[in-house]
Each structure stands twice: as C-alpha cells, then as structure tokens.
C-alpha cells in the first residue's frame, strides 16, 4: 500500500494500472467466495448421502434433508423461536453486562500499573478456571433460574474482554506516549486522545472472543438445568430420541454463532477502519 505512494506527493498511481487490478480483485473475491461455499456444500452433500447409502446409521445421523424438515416443523410450531428467544435473551444479557463492566474495569486496571501487577496473578487463575466448572457454584448461590444462567455467561465473557483490555492499555505504542508527554498532555486528555483510541482494536478482539464464549457457555448451562433454550431443546430431543430435532437445534446454534461473530467482525471493521488492512 505504502509503496504505491512515492516520496513526492505529485506522483499518484495512474488509473490505467488500477483498472485490470480491480477486475482481477473481483475475480479473486468471487473465487474465494466460491471456495468457501464449496467446503460447506461438500459437507452437506456428505451428510445427505452417507446415511442414505448406509455408510452411517441413519437413526443416529439422519440425512440433512430430514433434519431440515424437522427444523421447518419446529419453526412452524413456534418451538424454535421460543427457545431461540430464551437463549438469546440470556446470552446477550450476560454478554452485554460483561462488555459494560469489563471494558471500563480493564482500562482502569491497565492504566494503573501497580493495580495490574497486584491483580495479574489473580486474573490469571480465574481465566484458567473453566467457567463451566463453576456452574454448580452459580446454581447453588443463585438457583436454577435465569439469574444463574445470565451470571455464568457474564462471568465467562468477562475474562477475555478484561484481559484484552488490560493488555491493550499496556500495549500502546511508547513513542505515542512520549509524544503526548512532550506535548505536556496529562491525565484525562492523554487517556481520551491517545490511550482509548489506541486500545480499541485489542479491546474488540476480546469482545469477539467473548461473543463466541457467550454462546458456548450458555448452551452448556442450558443442557444442565433449564426448561427452555436451544441447549435445552438439543438435550431434551436427545432424551426423547427425536434425533432430527436434536440436529435442527445444533444447526440453529451454529448459525447463530456464525451470525453473531459476523456482526461483531463488521462492528470491529467499522471502528478500526484506520488500521492497515490485513489481507482483507
């Protein structure tokens, strides 16, 4: 990118050179797009054909079309929406609370070096304790209602956001800090004008991780004790030997996961458009 713009401002890239490059780029995008679809399509074909040919037991892995049928039935009966709604409310509440709490806390901890030195080991212990191992504790303390589920999602989402935010503040380019110091920029303004914007990309990495965690942890929590939600749907279907419904629940979860991640990636792009495009 930088190589295109040479030392003397007067020289710009000629439009002649740009044109064929653009068509090639479009073609490339089309090809990679096709490549990505191919892999998923192949998976679905295998899923469809393997049970039909008897390569796997169709009872345990029904063909994809059967699963789609079950998914449609669940949708029409309203069960799917109800369970999805229950799951989304829980995971988005926990996730939202974690973002609202962990970002300011992380900024604070990262900013005050002594605080991060003292809290560092403690945070490391919490981060490396699997959140689900604490689920029984949450259930004991908060019961099996909504509170404990939102709380476990909140807890699990907090760590990636908190730790990334702390390291984001610590990782601000020291020359920028020197610049700010040389300009006598102190306290609040330094924070607002240098540290906060510099931290945004790394904070977003944490938020994206937390997005994936929020769904992962919620589904597991719903499998253990719940009367609604996609995790519950999957687990209950398996108990009742409604195998196509179970798979319908699973593909719904994975679709939600992908969508949520795409949404966060789009948000991240929007807020960090100034960054050097990495292989975009």
């Amino acid at each position: 990118m930088t190589a295109l713009l040479e030392a003397r401002p007067a020289t710009r890239t000629t439009p002649v050179a740009v044109r064929p490059q653009r068509t090639r780029r479009a073609l490339d995008a089309l090809l990679t797009g096709a490549g990505k679809t191919v892999a998923i399509a192949a998976l679905l074909v295998v899923w469809e054909v393997a049970p039909r040919l008897g390569l796997v037991d169709a009872t345990f892995l029904p063909p994809f079309s059967t699963v789609l049928g079950a998914w449609w039935d669940l949708l029409v009966s309203g069960q799917l929406l109800e369970n999805t709604r229950a799951s989304l409310v829980r995971s988005l509440s926990g996730f939202g609370l974690a973002v609202a709490g962990a970002v300011p806390l992380g900024l604070l901890i990262g900013w005050y070096k002594p605080v991060s030195t003292v809290l560092g080991p403690l945070l490391e212990v919490f981060r490396n304790t699997a959140a689900l191992a604490l689920l029984p504790v949450f259930v004991l303390l908060l019961g099996i209602g909504e509170t404990s589920k939102i709380a476990i999602v909140f807890y699990a989402c907090t760590w990636p956001i908190l730790l990334n935010t702390i390291s984001a503040v610590g990782g601000v380019d020291p020359t920028l800090l020197r610049l700010a110091k040389s300009m006598n920029l102190g306290g609040f303004r330094l924070f607002q004008k240098v540290i906060l914007p510099a931290a945004v990309p790394t904070v977003f990495t944490g938020i994206r991780l937390a997005g994936a965690v929020s769904i992962l942890v919620l589904v597991a929590a719903e499998m253990i004790g719940a009367k609604a939600g996609l995790g519950y749907l999957i687990n209950a279907s398996q108990y009742n030997f409604a195998i196509p419904q179970m798979y319908a629940g699973i593909i719904t979860i994975s679709a939600i996961g992908v969508l949520f991640n795409q949404l966060l990636v789009a948000l991240e792009r929007r807020f960090t458009s100034w960054r050097v495009p990495v292989g975009a």
Partner: protein
C-alpha cells in the same frame, strides 16, 4: 544577544544494575536564536539523552539547560519534537494528526482546520489531508510529523534522527525541504543525526560528540553559502572538506565506541 538555548555543565547519569552509567558529561553549549545546530556523534554517545533533556522528558543530574534564560523543568509546547519513528496517531488522518498539536495548545476548533491545512501545504502535502498514516509513504509520514510540530508554533524544533528510517532519495528531498522550511519560519532547530553528510548539509554549526560519556568534542561552523541556491551542494569541494573534517573528528570516537560495545557485550 543572549543565546536562545544554553547548556550549562549538563550531566546525566542513569542507574544501571547497581552502578551508574554516565550518558552525557559536562555539556556546555549555546544555541543562538534562529540557529540550525546539528549534534553528531557515534551510537551511544547520549545524543538522544540530550534531546530528552531539552524536551524536558528527563531532567539533568547536574547542571541546567536554559531556554530564553529560564531553566527547563519539564515538557512544554514551546519546544516541538520530531521523532525518528514519526509518532503519528494511526487512527487520525494527516489533517487530524496536525490538529492534535493544536488541540493541546487550545486553538479554537475553527482555526485548527485552517492552520492544519496551511502547514500541510507548507510541507508539500496539500491534497493528502484525508489520508491515514498507513496510506502514506515514510517520507510523507515524516512530513506530517514536521507539520504537526510546526503548527503549534514552538520556538524550538527538536529533531531526533528524523530521516534515519528513510531511503536515500526521500531523505535528500526532505533535507532540502527542511532547510527551506527553516529559512521560511526562522525557528531555532536542534537536529540530531549520526550521518555526517546530513550534518554538514543542514547545520550552521555541527557539534561533534564523543562516545560514552558524551562530551562536546568540537563545534565546527559550516559555511556553504545559501544551500538552496547551489545546484548540488553535496558535491562541492567545500562540502567534501567539511565532511572530511567531521569524519576525522568522529573516526576515533566510532572506533572507541565499537570497542566499548564489544566490552559491554563481552561481560
């Protein structure tokens, strides 16, 4: 006329693993108002320490630095620093980066945009106001940084090897540009480099520093006439003579610096 900047017996020591390391030792140096002074020395001669002291980023262990007769006690907007690594805010456009300095001085919002555009024009970057740093070449980034430092109108411009990371052609064109800007703005410039050619071309006087600890070995006045009216000042016989003179002064120091470095690595 009293000097603009005056170093009075400036010594700076750093604690290193229980002992003390003397970076610069007893520097006495005066810089006149509107002068272009170049500090040249081998690596590890405390050039950057001197600049940090001038910028108020650190304070001397002994002695003092006077700016307009008043000792420097901390950083301030009466001195603008241009860093080797540009130090541009990557999330701001060229325009936004120049405005950054103006925000610190409290220039009203309306005037900021105007001033920023004016100084980007001065460094030859009109039409690039909306580019982000990653869309600019190294030379252009340093132009933005220079515009930023000039825009808030400091009395002194401190430059810490600003062209060291640039390729040869870009460096030459920026050197010429800097002379032009200096002539137009009349700023006092303290310029640090390890390149002899650069020192001779830019400086009205070149202060040669010794290696570890940094002392002023000799101050060489340079008289090349008006550098911009000469076609290729770098190839004139006087240029070669000055170049050789400074090379001579530096040569022993470089050898000594290398020896010291080996000793440090060896222990």
């Amino acid at each position: 006329m009293s000097p603009h900047i005056s170093f009075r017996g400036v010594t700076k020591r750093f604690p290193v693993k229980g002992t003390e390391f003397t970076a610069v030792d007893g520097i006495d140096l005066d810089v006149a108002r509107g002068e272009f002074l170049v500090l040249v020395g081998p690596s590890g001669c405390g050039k950057s320490t001197l600049l940090d002291l001038l910028g108020g980023l650190t304070s001397p262990s002994e002695g003092e630095i006077l700016l307009d007769g008043t000792p420097i006690t901390g950083p301030g907007l009466d001195r603008g620093i241009v860093f080797q690594q540009y130090a541009l805010l990557p999330w701001r456009t060229a325009q936004g980066n120049v405005e950054f300095g103006l925000e610190a001085t409290g220039v009203p919002r309306r005037q900021r945009a105007e001033r920023a555009a004016e100084f980007l024009n001065l460094v030859g970057l009109s039409g690039f106001e909306d580019r982000h740093p990653h869309q600019l070449s190294g030379g252009m980034r340093q132009r933005v940084a220079i515009a930023r430092s000039l825009a808030y109108d400091p009395a002194v411009l401190l430059m810490d090897e600003p062209f060291a990371a640039l390729d040869a052609q870009t460096r030459e064109s920026l050197q010429d540009e800097l002379v032009r800007i200096w002539q137009r703005t009349g700023k006092t410039i303290v310029f640090i480099t390890h390149a002899i050619d650069e020192a001779v071309l830019l400086g009205q006087r070149v202060a040669v520093l010794t290696s570890r600890p940094g002392r002023v070995k000799e101050v060489v006045p340079i008289d090349l006439g008006d550098r911009l009216s000469t076609d290729d000042p770098r190839s004139s016989p006087e240029f070669a003579r000055y170049r050789h003179r400074i090379w001579d002064l530096l040569h022993d120091e470089v050898t000594r610096a290398q020896q010291l470095e080996k000793e440090v690595v060896g222990t």
